[in-house]
Every structure is written in C-alpha cells, then in structure tokens.
Symmetry: C2
Subunit: 403 residues, 2 copies
C-alpha cells in the first residue's frame, strides 16, 4: 500500500470538475464526479430524522443497479426546504444525466451549506452545465475545493495497492470542519476505486470502515441533515471480481479503513477553532461497545475539550465522562494516561488519582497532538476515537455562521 | 403559596451554619444543616457509575429510618479518592454525630469541588467542630455560601403555604454553575420542610419534582460524580401527616415543583460564562418522552448555544438537533418560534424555513432571556427545559479550572 499524490480522479476512468457558479460569493461551489463506465456503488447516509432533499434522492438512487455520476454543491444544504427542495434535487440529477447522456437513475446528488434556504436553481443549472463541460482527469482537486464550506483546507487522499498483482487505486475527498459532535456540521466523503467488487461486499466494507473512522469522530445518530459517505467502484483496474470475503477482500478493506481514518483525522485537524488533536484509546474493555461508549463520551465532553485547550491535566473530568458514558466497567480498576510523542504520564490508577509529575504532564499537554489512554484492565476490547479541543475560536466561528 | 425571604433555616426546627476551614483559600467551605427532631428524608443521587465517596455513604444512610443532619464541604469533591475517600466521608459523618449527639446513621455527607485529591482532613475536622458550634436559626445564608464552587451567587429560596389551614414552610439551597450538560459541574440541592409527610410519598414527590426541574437542565445519566438532591421533612409544622396522594399531597408537590424549578433556573442563570438564558418548550408532541428528548437535544447542542450567543436566528441547527434527538416526530409538521417578552417570530413551518422578519428576530435575540418553541402539531404532550448559551467566557473558565 502506497500513498500517492491525487484524489478522486486517481483511479482509472474517473473524471471530475469543480466550478464557481455563484451559490457562494467567490469560491468554488459545485462539483461533478463521473466514471467512464457504470460503477458498483455503496453509501452510508445520515441517521438524522431530518434528512435533506439530496440525501433522500440519493438514498433512493443508490439502490439502483449502477451509479455513474455524482453532483455536489456547497453553500446551500437544500435541507428543510420542503417539496420544492426535492424537486430541485431531482432536477440536479436530471440535468447531469442529460448532459452526460447517462441514465438519471445512475446519478447521485449531495449538498452542504446553509439549512432552510431554497437552492438558487438558476445558478445551480449554470454550474452543472459548466461542471459537466469541464470534467477532466486532473479535476479531483477542483472538486475537493468545491465541496468545502467552513473547511480551511481541502481533504484528499489517494492510495495504490495490488490485488493478485493487479495495481488498484483508491481516491477520496471529504469535507467537514465542524467539531462534529455535538454540532451539526455536515460531513461528506466521496471515494472512488477502479477495483472490481461485488456491490453487496462493497457496501459491507464501507459500513465497516465508516464505523471505525467517521463514526469515531461523531456519535451514532448525532449526525447532520446532509451527511453521506459514498464509494464508487468501476472495475477498470481489471482485477478478478471480488465475490466473497477472501484475502483480496480483506486487503481492500484494510486500505479502505486507512483511507476513511485518514479523512476522518483530516476533518478533526480542521475542526472549527481546534488547536489540539485528541486521540482517545480505550483498551482492555469488557466489550467493543463499552470501549466505544467511553471513547466517545470523553471526546465529546465540553469539559475535557476545554481542559485540553487549557492544557490542564484534569483527569477527573475524563473519569467522570467515562462514568456517565453508559459503558460497563469497574470503577476500581481503570487507569488513565496522557501521552504525546514519547512522553507518557499515568494520572490515575484503579479509579483514583495519583500524585503524578505535573511538570511532565505539562510537557505532554503543550503539544498539538495529545493521546488519552483509558486502560480498563477488565477485558480485551479496544476502541480508538479522534477529537479536538474547544477554543475561543470555536465560539467565534459558530456564533456567527449564518449571518 | 408565598415566596418569603430565607432559605433552609426558614422552616421550623432547622438550624444551619457555614464556615471557612481552609479547604478553599478564603471563602466559606463547610456547612452543616441540623433539625431539632429527626426527619423523614428522601434523596436523588447521581447516576454516574463513578460515584464520589460522600454519595456512596449518603446513599447508604438515607435508607435508614430518620435523618437529622447533613454536612457538606466545598472545594474538594472527595471523588476518585479510593478507600481513603470512603474513610474520610465516614469520619465526617461520625464527627457530626458525636458533636450533635445524634445517631451516626442519621447523618448525610456531601462534597463538591476538585476531583481526585484527598480531603485535607485536619481542616475538615476543624471545620466540622466550628460549624456544629455555630449552628443557628439564621445560618441558612452562611450554609448557602459555603457550598458554592464556581457559583457567582448563592442560591436560596423559601416558600410558605398552607395545608388544612396549617402554615407550612419549605426552604432550599443549591449550588451549581456549570453549563451542566455535557459538563460535569456538580449540582447539589438541599431542601428542608417542616411538613409532616410519609417517607415513601416524600421520595415520590422529590423524584417527580427533580424530573421536571433539575433533570430538565441536564441529561439523564449525564451527571457528575457528586450530584445529589436531598429533602428533609421534620413534621414540626404540625399538619396531619400526609399518608396518601390526596389534595394535600398535590398541594405540597406543586410547591416542591416550584422550588426545584426556581433553583434549577438559578443554576442556569449562573451558568459558567452564560450571557443568555434559554427556555425550550416542546409542545403537542406524541409522548412526554419525545418532548423531553427534543428539548434536551436543542438545549445541549453546542451549535444552538453558540448561535444564541451570536444572536443568530439559526433555526436549522435547532431542527437538526431535534432530528438527531431520538424523538419520534413528523418532520413535515413541526413549527419553530423564537420568543422573548411579547415578541414572537415563527421561523419554520411544517419543517421548512419561512421568509421571516430578520429585524424582528434580531429584536428577540438581543434579549437576555430567549424562548425557543417547538410545536410538533402531532400530539398533546409538552416538556419545558432550561439552558444557556456558550460563550468565550465558558471556554476561559473551563480551560483553567483545576490549575
């Protein structure tokens, strides 16, 4: 497995483009992804009861046999826009299918931006025409730029690996810069692959990877109106089609896990006003669910976030968060550590505070990347999650997003 | 029902005191509440799996027949302090019982402050001696002061009402100034009454009131290591003992609901760095649980909190929070309003945004007390909850609490 320069247009047969059509004032705001041949596709969509129109339309279309194109706009989420919103999303799909001369059932649509405002369809129509005309092999970067909202940088990755000697490429782009939970910043990710794989297996692999990556930077069910992660596999690499969970499947799954985890980390690193990247590892837990619950509660605690921002070794808040997480554990067994680079300090043992070296703790907490380790000493399950601190800047950005 | 000046020493037979013994540098840090006669008592304790030593001791003692005194220290939570912490909490109980010549099984203990640091027992012992010696009929205020941590003001209330012509008094004090959920700021409340009431009914009434008040400013299960709400009823008013859920019981319940709700609101108003008080009312919901889930999700959304701080009518974040709350509702029916004083603006109807008057919305949102109304138009159940905004100040306070 090798990381290569590129993104969604790195795999064979994928073209893309990103244009500015005026939904946003100055920045690119509309992207199209296109495969030269129809793709097996899989998607994971928001579990929010309030689903944006493009999510509803794409959830319908992805059930169809093949997908060949995706149109994405930023600047307007087309969420909470009623019947008109659905019509607009459907029109976006129809326009792309007409311009690219593909079946409208093979087009997905995605939006991100302000909620509750109707799409400026004149601009969107114009944008779709431009984007379809500009589709090209180097367009991945433009597309990655066009899906950004409060993101401060574009998020792309491309990987090359081999299956049975055949070189395979996976490319991906994502947007998302909110502190994710408990906020509603939309998270979008689009993954392309020239792999040949059965659709059902592709879906299972995606679900599995999302669970270990994007779902570890958010909380189940606590998702925005527009979240979606979609993967397209067009088979153009020419490998023998993966039809079962064999070695080839797991090789692919490993790469997909890596891609999704790297994108999830990029989103956290670009967290609104984030100054520190926090990794929480819960180990030796009774079950995987207990490990996940504990990890997420710590990452989502405003008090842990602000303490980390303040570089305060406040392990009491961490233990308290584990306590209310719903995880089943023995309070009298848990150990807590702070770690960064080669430095480690154990701050609590068997559920009680230690007289730890405050100087050492400070040396760890001044770093940009902090690891919090929860050792339950009570089982063999582990979970890892990613988050960031809560800063003044977060309040500033989110106090005035809409206006 | 009449609000009178006073607090926990307003009902007949209750004495209290609050002293400075050096757990904190300068401020009062130890309080004792004492009733001249043994009381029926009821308590509601944190559901956090990590329970502080005083919580464990008090949960044990409150099962006993009668309670006659409570000792409370601030500045140190005696949480995550292992076996030594339990010994210390038990010693606090024993000292009070010896000094006041009452059974040690009739004493409760409570602590709030820093987690994971052993209690400075020399100071605590000295404080208990002083506090027991200083017990007096005007001591409610001192006690209310002595239980404060990051609170900027003490929180007390006293009510007089009648049952069958007999004047009854309820007094109460509380501490808590965190933004409560999702943080771990401890919430303590102590309620005294000279009412004569059966212990089981007292417990039911307390549970009922806490559910509608303190639990509507926090999230079930998301509680600190030290939270507790305790009520003592000494019967000295001389009313006929309330033995069943008759008119007298419900009259008392109404007063208790009022007391708890007022204390809960005081805690929110004193929220760390809070600049605005937010009331969320979910009405016409399918069930009471749906109404509560929606209310809490909106109050706990960092994005709604920061938007309120920024005086931004961002109803999309509100609807999105309702969407992920787990509440069962029809997305195409819900209306959303902002309200303050006499001004109301409807910002969303049937799940979609309205072209509302932004000037009017601004006039509402600049106020200190904002109401958000969710009208599900889908049932007959209602819930009301209270919260506050998320400000720069919150980050400042919580970034450096421990150090």
């Amino acid at each position: 497995m090798e990381i290569i320069n590129g993104g969604i247009t790195s795999p064979k047969g994928f073209l893309a483009s990103g244009v500015h059509c005026g939904i946003k004032k100055y920045k690119k705001d509309l992207a199209v992804i296109y495969s030269e041949v129809p793709c097996d596709a899989a998607g994971v969509f928001t579990t929010n009861k309030v689903k944006a129109a493009p999510v509803l339309v794409s959830m319908g279309n992805i059930k169809n046999d093949k997908i060949q194109a995706i149109v994405i706009n930023s600047g307007n989420a087309n969420a909470c826009t009623g019947e008109k919103g659905l019509e607009d999303a459907r029109e976006m799909v129809k326009l792309v299918s007409e311009l690219l001369k593909i079946d409208s059932s093979s087009v997905l649509v995605s939006s991100t931006g302000v909620i509750g405002v109707p799409l400026p369809m004149d601009k969107v129509r114009n944008g779709i025409s431009m984007a379809c005309a500009e589709l090209n092999k180097m367009g991945g970067q433009d597309a990655a730029e066009a899906i950004m909202t409060t993101d401060t940088c574009k998020k792309e990755i491309a990987i090359q690996f081999e299956i049975q000697g055949v070189p395979i490429r996976i490319g991906a782009m994502a947007k998302g810069s909110g502190m994710i939970h408990p906020n509603m910043a939309t998270m979008l990710a689009f993954i392309t692959a020239d792999l040949n794989i059965d659709k059902t297996l592709l879906h299972e692999a995606l679900k599995d990877s999302v669970e270990k990556s994007f779902n570890m930077i958010t909380v189940d069910g606590d998702t925005s109106t527009n979240d979606m992660v979609v993967i397209l596999a067009n088979g153009m690499a020419g490998n023998r089609r993966i039809m079962q969970k064999d070695g080839d499947y797991f090789k692919f799954l490993e790469v997909l896990n890596f891609v999704c985890t790297e994108l999830a980390k990029m989103i956290i690193r670009d967290g609104e006003g984030a100054t520190k990247f926090i990794e929480v590892k819960a180990k030796n837990a009774r079950t995987i669910e207990d490990a996940k619950k504990a990890t997420k509660a710590v990452l989502n605690s405003n008090l842990v976030k602000t303490a980390t921002f303040g570089e305060d070794a406040n392990w009491g808040r961490i233990l308290a968060a584990v306590g209310y997480s719903g995880a089943d554990f023995d309070v009298n067994k848990i150990d807590i550590y702070f770690k960064s680079n080669d430095l480690v300090v154990k701050v609590a043992e068997n559920g009680a505070g230690l007289m730890f070296d405050e100087e050492l703790a400070k040396k760890i907490l001044v770093n940009k990347e902090i690891e919090i380790i929860l050792d339950f000493k009570d089982g063999e399950y582990e979970a890892v999650g990613f988050g960031c601190d809560l800063s003044y800047e977060y309040v500033r950005i989110n106090g005035s997003y809409r206006t």
